[in-house]
Amino acid sequence: MQDTIKNLTERFGASNMIEKKPGLIFITIEQSKAISAVTYLRDIEGYTVLTLLTAVDWIEDNVFQLTYLLNNPEQITEIGLRVMIDREKAEMESAHHLWPNVEVYQRELKEMYGINFPGSPRIDENFILEGWNDKPPYRRDFDTKEYAENNFFPRPGRKTNDPAEYMKQKMYPNNPSDYTNKKYNPNR
């Protein structure tokens, strides 16, 4: 495990390593070296299983984080490779030649985040949505509630409570000041 990390750092310029728990490591890799690092891990280090490939939208930093989580079934360790890609020009090298399933993950990412993977098979086909004509829905700036209210027909009479306020009324009906008491509520 330590050797792998060392190799990753030296050869692929990996940084920002976090060991979350024994056998689970997250590490950041540059976009240009990501696929070669994945190939390296798969072919040399025995990380032969792709557990998942997903994205996180860091809208405030204007980046997408792609996470390739690889599993080594021999050593029972997992490495999560974080790849930061530009949010405006969301494009990433395709890895469909490495595992047959990558194609499916990439189709989902294309649909849900609008991240393009040029060259990936069936990338433009619909995976989950059908006839979608709005922003990719998993992006942070897509407001699902507003979309639902505009497009579907909300039944009138649905009440929305702020859970905190509602609990305050329910739990401390007589003495609301208890709510701010440190003893009951360490966050206040």
């Binding site: 689970l24 032969t48 989580l69 595992w99 499916v104 829905p137 998993y138 905190a164 966050n187 206040r188």
Partner: protein, 397 residues
């Protein structure tokens, strides 16, 4: 002696129709040699609401494409706008047949991110609930495999016993299908009085059922002749295609999170998952049958070893204001279908930044199923699909 071509019914058809240089079949629909049919979404042989676009030549499938998305609710998006505790009712609906692993991976991810240690008693109860969930799925799944070949009798018996296990869930958690019993920091309650005895009675019924199922399914000539050699997964595909759980164990590869990464109390329990190397539908059914046996045994062990009383919930902050420290984690457990994992990213606020749930169906139902169905008979699609235990809501979430 070579058989005459006219009378050979067992000829090798793997190279029919003609393939191009990449090994893909050349399918020209306008040649009238092929027929395109859809199985699903409205089709009784498909596991839930998904569909297969099959190109058939006679009864033989030459190309298959899985279409999902009929059950997409955007859970991962919905959870991004809910507080952590509000995520629970959403999360458990991701895989309807077996909701408890969802609860467990979510609360485990929250605990890992915020560094909470779960009390012993809660760990025992969580183990019990997870095993009960596996039991109720397998009670339906094992005879359901024969049901795909129109042997519905075992399915009827199994479903009755499943209802009994759901009664136990109701007793313990108050819910029949959705339990929300596992919460961050622990569980919601202790076992009710007399629970163990009633559970033991039900387990005895299940023991009898197992003997009947063995006679009805595994010693049935027709079932054996149909299931043997069907949907063969070579050992090398296990890593390549991402095969998990019983399907991998049937191929002779040990994939069981309970054994490889023991979580909760599995390190204190005595069990050995069954593996075989045949890797066809029959072997996968056998593995799941032995899983069912093992689960019954595990529940007995858990009930014998667990303490009577104890702390069931760790101290947690007020859930309404609970801010989880920044970080990311991947928590996993073994569901009845294989490794079930959740990747969670927190940005330090009271709502998750990103939750991604990865179930085994995602890989089983897409690339693997498409590959396995090539050169299969259309009569066997349901059997292959059920043997992989695909659960559509977990693919599209």
């Amino acid at each position: 002696m070579e058989k005459s071509k006219l009378f050979t019914l067992n000829e090798d058809r793997s190279l029919y129709p003609e393939h191009d240089e990449n090994g893909k079949p050349i399918v020209d629909l306008s040649s009238h040699k092929f027929l395109k049919i859809w199985q699903g979404p409205q089709h009784p042989g498909v596991t839930g609401n998904m569909s297969l676009e099959l190109t058939v030549s006679g009864d033989e499938i030459v190309e298959s494409k899985t279409h999902v998305g009929y059950l997409h609710r955007g859970f991962e998006k919905l959870m991004e706008r809910r507080k952590y505790i509000q995520c629970f009712p959403t999360c458990i609906r991701m895989c309807v047949a077996e909701p408890d692993p969802n609860e467990y991976v979510l609360s485990n991810a929250i605990e890992e991110l915020s560094g909470i240690e779960v009390p012993e008693m809660a760990k025992w109860l969580r183990t019990l609930v997870l095993e009960m969930a596996r039991l109720q799925v397998l009670l339906r799944g094992v005879p359901g495999q024969a049901g795909t070949f129109a042997l519905g009798l075992g399915y009827q018996w199994g479903n009755y016993l499943r209802d009994l296990i759901l009664d136990s869930f109701e007793e313990l958690t108050g819910g029949r299908v959705y339990h929300m019993y596992i919460l961050p920091g622990g569980v919601r309650g202790l076992l009710p009085d007399g629970f163990k005895k009633r559970m033991e009675d039900k387990l005895k019924l299940i023991d009898e059922f197992m003997i009947k199922i063995d006679k009805l399914i595994f010693q049935n000539v027709v079932f054996e002749s149909r299931a043997r050699g069907l949907g063969y997964i070579p050992k090398e595909w296990v890593d390549v295609y991402g095969v998990y759980g019983p399907a991998a164990r049937a191929a002779g590869v040990m994939r069981d999170v309970r054994k490889t990464n023991p979580y909760l109390k599995y390190s204190e329990l005595d069990f050995e998952p069954y593996t075989t190397t045949d890797s066809d539908v029959f072997a996968r059914t056998e593995v799941r049958y032995n899983d069912l046996k093992m689960t019954v045994d595990l529940i007995r062990q858990i009930m014998a070893k667990m303490p009577e009383k104890g702390d069931i919930k760790a101290e947690t902050p007020n859930v309404m204001h609970w801010k989880i420290p920044k970080g990311e984690t991947y928590s996993k457990c073994e569901s009845s279908r294989g490794e079930y994992g959740m990747y969670m990213v927190s940005d330090g606020s009271d709502k998750p930044r990103r939750v991604n749930l990865k179930g085994p169906s995602y890989t089983h139902a897409n690339a693997l199923l498409d590959r396995l169905l090539i050169n299969a008979n259309i009569a066997d699609t349901a059997a292959i699909m059920v043997s992989l235990a695909t659960c559509p809501p977990e693919i599209e979430r």
